[in-house]
């Protein structure tokens, strides 16, 4: 499987949208427009978009605290995401969720969980649900290398395997969990190797290579839709920014050289741009995409800033399906 011409454009657009969206944030945080801190997916765009390009619009995904990249990769509109980051009533989660929880249900996201690992069973359950309802949908659980040490992953690998659920376990192995190198917390470096114990295919792909991630995901999706069960894909990737932005974060745990190397040699956007040029997409075409993405981010910022804050007396909204008479 490889991407068609217009899919390639869309993939580039989504990767760029993630990058541009993320890069617009630090200034807004500094300006006090975005409260709290954010976790950026810069450096990991090819993994997110490569996987999502292999999905149908109605397929499900769950993400993580690093929650901006997944919805954009799945095709979400930027404005409600940005409004959410600014805590506005027009935000995708009505200002209740914020940076760690940009779950956009309209594109199939059923959770961006800030509890590390906790999105995995949600995605597995969505797979079970698709199977029971016979819809042919698949479900992808995105999770980090750190999350791979949560026991719940193994419980879910096992259940997905015995019940042949249409689930793809997609590990964004960016080599670090906050300040902790995976090399110090993983008995062996390849998370994909942990799949064999549950009789699940476990494959490793270059997470900086959009096509590689796309192809591996296509194989897994096909398998899942055929009723043959789950797969685990480990994408080796890298986070270019600090673990979080907007809160003090030490950086001693990795070398400046290492970061520099990835930024220079392994930038998924630069790599894909080169590939597109080689494939005959001309500079003007790419510049067009770049321009329209920049515009979309600007529009999103303007929409967000122009949106109202949620009303304090709406606080109990969405807690229950019907108000149960809570007291303020």
């Amino acid at each position: 499987m490889s991407l068609q011409v217009d899919q390639r454009r869309e993939a580039y657009r989504r990767m760029l949208a993630i990058r541009s969206f993320e890069q617009a944030l630090p200034k807004r945080i500094a300006a006090g427009e975005i409260p709290g801190s954010v976790h950026s997916s810069v450096g990991q765009e090819a993994t997110l978009v490569g996987a999502c390009m292999a999905l149908r619009d109605d397929d499900y995904i769950t993400g993580t605290h690093r929650s901006h990249g997944h919805p954009i990769a799945k095709g979400a509109r930027l404005a409600p995401l940005m409004a959410e980051l600014m805590g506005r009533a027009t935000g995708v989660c009505k200002g209740r969720g914020g940076s760690m929880h940009l779950a956009d249900r309209s594109v199939g996201i059923i959770g961006e969980s800030a509890i590390v690992g906790a999105g995995i069973p949600l995605a597995t359950g969505a797979g079970l649900s698709a199977l029971v309802r016979g819809t042919g949908q698949v479900s992808v659980a995105f999770f980090g290398d750190g999350a791979a040490n949560q026991g719940v992953l193994y419980e879910c690998l096992n259940m997905a395997a015995i019940w042949k659920l249409p689930v793809i376990f997609l590990c964004e192995n960016n080599l670090y969990a906050a300040t902790t190198p995976a090399s110090t917390t993983h008995a062996q470096p390849d998370i994909a190797k942990r799949a064999a114990g549950f009789d699940i295919p476990g494959v490793i792909v270059d997470g900086q290579d959009l096509d590689a991630v796309f192809e591996a995901t296509c194989v897994a999706v096909k398998r899942a839709r055929r009723g043959e069960g789950p797969s685990l894909i480990e994408a080796k990737t890298y986070r270019f920014d600090e673990h979080a932005i907007g809160i003090f974060m030490p950086s001693h745990y990795r070398t400046a050289d290492e970061v520099e190397h990835y930024r220079r040699e392994r930038d998924p956007l630069a790599l894909y741009r080169m590939r597109l040029l080689e494939a005959g997409h001309g500079e003007p075409e790419l510049a067009g995409i770049e321009h329209s993405v920049a515009q979309a981010v600007d529009d999103a910022l303007a929409f967000a800033k122009g949106s109202p804050h949620p009303a304090p007396d709406s606080i109990f909204d969405f807690l229950y399906s019907n108000p149960i008479g809570q007291q303020a």
């Binding site: 995708v92 779950a103 069973p121």
Partner: protein, 320 residues
């Protein structure tokens, strides 16, 4: 109407709701057992999932399935195992609707039974509903009769929010006439006044009902008219019925099998001390299990729980 035990009521509620709504599925350990026994009738294998021992995993899966069009019932069997699933219940099920600004509903039911006087010791004898009462977004029920169990479990399955159902295994064998109409529901959030009275209000939680009822009988012999309220639902809690009763009687005894500190009885006492103080004529009495782990030895275990004598004694303390 048909005679049903408390345990039979659970099965009947599940069977009816599964027949009524193809979105209802069952997941839990060793449940092939009771579906195999025919208790649920003939079922599509895609409707009952006999799970590995992975409470956190399958509880979370039920939440994910609930968000995507199913209405799962999770059978956690014994309540003491719920701690393994706490993260998915508290951080996910309870929070997702709110945190996503209403983008998702989580119509999931978690059932669990609480064991008493069976010499099961500390790791199989907990009554952990108090901790979930402190978690906004959850509903928590503890029906004490077969009719309520059937009607409230059915309400829980039809509810669009996560509901925790606490069952008292003391009551499993209890029998009564139960409505057979598959659309007969008992609403979540309404207490039941089991006996009307004027001198003292006795609020009973979950499996304490038979003891509280016996205590009311005993008090009647002593010419004391006790009103008996069975709360049935802990969240939402029917504050109005409790406050209205205390407004008439001026006296309150709360009876609960759970541990004392920060328990359901504490909440009811606090509500009345706050909102019903003007009408309160005597100290509130909590009759609970003391703050100690449940021992294996029946000689140690049995005296711990609220019983008729302790309830009567508490009422007497504030009547005279």
């Amino acid at each position: 109407m048909a005679e049903l035990t408390y345990l039979g009521a659970i099965l009947e509620a599940e069977k009816e709701e599964m027949a009524r709504d193809p979105r209802v599925i069952l997941i839990g350990e060793d449940i092939a057992l009771y579906s195999a026994s025919g208790a649920l009738g003939k079922l599509d294998p895609k409707r009952t999932w006999n799970a590995p021992i992975s409470e956190l995993g399958f509880s979370g899966m039920a939440v994910g399935a609930a968000m995507t069009g199913l209405r799962p019932i999770v059978d956690l069997t014994i309540a003491s195992f719920v701690y393994l699933a706490c993260d998915q219940i508290i951080n996910q099920a309870a929070k997702i609707r709110f945190m996503t600004g209403g983008q998702a509903s989580v119509p999931v039911v978690f059932r669990m039974s609480m064991w008493h006087n069976g010499a099961n010791a500390a790791q199989h004898s907990d009554r952990p509903y108090p901790m979930f009462m402190n978690v906004p977004g959850l509903k928590v029920i503890a029906p004490a009769t077969p009719a309520d169990m059937k009607g409230m479990l059915k309400s829980a399955i039809r509810d669009d929010d996560p509901v925790l159902v606490f069952e008292d295994n003391d009551l499993w064998g209890k029998k009564e006439a139960v409505a057979t109409d598959p659309d007969h529901l008992v609403p979540i959030g309404k207490a039941a006044v089991r006996r009307a009275g004027t001198d003292v209000t006795i609020v009973s939680i979950a499996g304490c009902l038979p003891h509280a009822d016996a205590a009311v009988g005993q008090l009647a012999k002593e010419e004391v008219s006790a009103e008996l309220i069975d709360v049935r639902s802990l969240v939402p809690l029917d504050r109005a019925t409790i406050l209205e009763s205390v407004a008439r009687t001026g006296r309150l005894v709360v009876v609960d099998y759970a541990h004392r500190t920060a328990g359901a009885a504490a909440e009811i006492a606090a509500i009345v001390a706050e909102e019903g103080f003007a009408t309160l004529r005597a100290p509130i009495q909590r009759v609970t299990t003391p703050d100690v782990q449940i021992p294996f030895s029946p000689k140690l275990e049995r005296p711990l729980y609220p019983n008729k004598d302790r309830i009567v004694a508490a009422a007497r303390r504030i009547l005279h």
